[in-house]
């Protein structure tokens, strides 16, 4: 289990990015973190990845405190960040250097086939489209079989169509080994289609605002009324987290006051 206990981060320049964030995340759970800009989403993710140390609080995975990148925690960034001097296959095998060459080749071949890029094994990263490159990045992160996979706005640079495609593909891949997924996103649709639980954060300083469970069976129909309902709940929570007035049933008190006047 991944446990975040009162994680806080103040940067050396005094920016208070994150305050006392606590959450327990079950193995195999998919959690989406959503919030306005500056709410500390990426800071939180980097602390879980062990790339940046938290100023206060701890992140523990199965009882071990995370202070540096961990073998069981993988990360996918907003950009694919492929190494341009390695072929697609070598990029995917980058994290497997401890394996003997034969085993590595086999794993890479399987991963390539799994993300549908078997014909691109020898291609250079520059020859890939944005969606293909991000699929290679996903394969590279998944091939060492992490227990936790962190995704920092992984599809935000892609067009809407490719994004949907990759969301479905990610769920499909997740189903193979069921790692814990923690997904930072701006996209309400993405959060609702992927997550078991959506954590809405509020900015300055970043902290947890509201938690919304998405009790929808997978695969989820993006056009169903239930799906819409969950989307509206997340949107409402987001609006309230930014102290906006919400013309919605959830915000009856403000609307009522206005009418009373």
């Amino acid at each position: 289990m991944l446990a975040l206990d009162r994680v806080g981060k103040t940067y050396p320049n005094g920016v208070h990015a994150l305050e006392r964030f606590s959450a327990d995340i079950r193995p195999g759970e998919i959690v989406a973190i959503i919030g306005g800009s500056g709410c500390g989403k990426s800071t939180l993710l980097r602390a879980v990845a062990g790339l940046d140390r938290a100023s206060t609080g701890t992140v523990t995975l199965d009882g071990a405190v995370i202070t540096a990148p961990h073998a069981k925690i993988g990360i996918i960034f907003q950009e694919p960040r492929l190494l341009p001097w390695l072929s697609v296959a070598d990029n995917i095998g980058f994290g497997l250097s401890e394996l003997p060459a034969g085993a590595r080749r086999e794993k890479v071949a399987r991963a390539l086939a799994r993300v549908g890029l078997a014909d691109k094994a020898k291609a250079w990263p520059r020859e890939l489209s944005g969606g293909q490159a991000q699929r290679v990045a996903i394969a590279r992160a998944l091939v060492p079989q992490p227990e936790v996979l962190l995704l920092d706005e992984p599809f935000s640079a892609l067009d809407a169509f490719t994004r949907r495609d990759l969301q479905d593909h990610l769920l499909d891949l997740w189903n193979d080994t069921r790692p814990t997924l923690i997904l930072v996103t701006h996209d309400v649709d993405e959060a609702v289609v992927l997550a078991d639980r959506v954590l809405v954060m509020r900015p300055r300083p970043g902290r947890l605002f509201e938690e919304i469970k998405i009790n929808l069976a997978r695969p989820r129909d993006r056009n169903s009324p239930l799906f819409d309902n969950f989307k509206r709940r997340v949107l409402t929570a987001l609006d309230r987290s930014l102290d906006r007035n919400v013309p919605d049933a959830d915000a009856k008190s403000t609307a009522g006051e206005a009418m009373w006047w």
Partner: protein, 282 residues
């Protein structure tokens, strides 16, 4: 669904590959075009002198330069001079590259070393390298050592700057990928930093080599008894412009050839580069 998403990208790569026949034509036509201007000028000058419009004494026509080269070659003089010069450049280039690479890497990698070392190196760089000549002669004597030292100084600075700059400009995001895969220090250098730095390093080597050829002339001006630079001075003192031009032409050929050798040797390592020049112009 997946396939239809990727189709536009596939079409694009197809469109970028030119048809084979026009590609072959361009491959041969490009060097030919580059030769047009110098060869044309040489032919015109040759005819000009042959027709008697000029005696060609100060600017010898191509045939006379060629005759001089052949004469030097036949007597064995030419190979002696070329060997002397190439040996000096090779030694100076080797020393300069070694020192520039090591110090540049140290300065690029460790902030403290950069703060200690870089200001001094930058200050030394501001000195015109030829200004070292008298000192080098006093310190190292008039013979080979001082010449090689001067060439090494010329090669050192571009290599040092290139290596340091390249290391400093390695993309933090790529380094972070190395960190998430928990690479050790040496593995990070071997698997991330070296390949990332390589393109800039090759450029630095080529600039360094160019300066090496420049400085060998300066070095050979200061009292050499052999070498292409000596041929230049000798030609000036004895009034033999054909010999001077012959030496210049040989310098040009040697410089271009060695530069091309670096390019050829490193090309397989840089195939991955997404360079503008690799798709359109070349």
């Amino acid at each position: 669904m997946t396939m239809s998403v990727e189709l536009p990208a596939l079409e694009r790569t197809d469109a970028m590959t030119p048809p084979a026949s026009s590609a072959r034509l361009r491959r041969y036509a490009r060097p030919a075009l580059g030769l047009l201007l110098p060869v044309g000028l040489a032919v015109i000058w040759e005819i000009w002198v042959a027709l008697g419009y000029s005696n060609g004494r100060l600017v010898p026509p191509p045939t006379r330069i060629f005759a001089t080269v052949m004469e030097l070659a036949k007597s064995g003089e030419l190979s002696r001079h070329i060997t002397a010069t190439v040996t000096r450049v090779a030694a100076g280039f080797g020393l300069g590259v070694a020192a520039g690479t090591i110090l540049g890497a140290i300065s690029g990698y460790w902030g403290l070393a950069r703060q200690l070392l870089d200001p001094t190196v930058q200050a030394l760089r501001a000195i015109p390298s030829i200004a070292w000549v008298p000192l080098f002669i006093l310190w190292l004597g008039i013979f080979e050592t001082s010449k090689i030292a001067l060439i090494a100084v010329g090669v050192f600075f571009p290599v040092y700057l290139g290596v340091m700059g390249a290391i400093l400009s390695v993309d933090r995001k790529i380094v972070e990928v190395g960190r998430t895969f928990r690479l050790s220090g040496p593995a990070m250098i071997r698997r991330i930093l070296l390949p990332a730095v390589l393109p800039a390093y090759v450029v630095a080597l080529r600039v360094g080599l160019g300066l090496g050829w420049m400085f060998v002339v300066a070095a050979e001006f200061m009292g050499a008894s052999e070498g292409l630079g000596y041929l230049l001075i000798d030609g000036q003192q004895l009034g033999k412009p054909a010999q001077i031009v012959a030496a210049i032409v040989i310098f040009a050929i040697l410089g271009k050839t060695t530069d091309w050798l670096i390019e050829i040797a490193t090309a397989p390592l840089l195939r991955w580069q997404d360079a503008f020049g690799r798709q359109g112009v070349r």
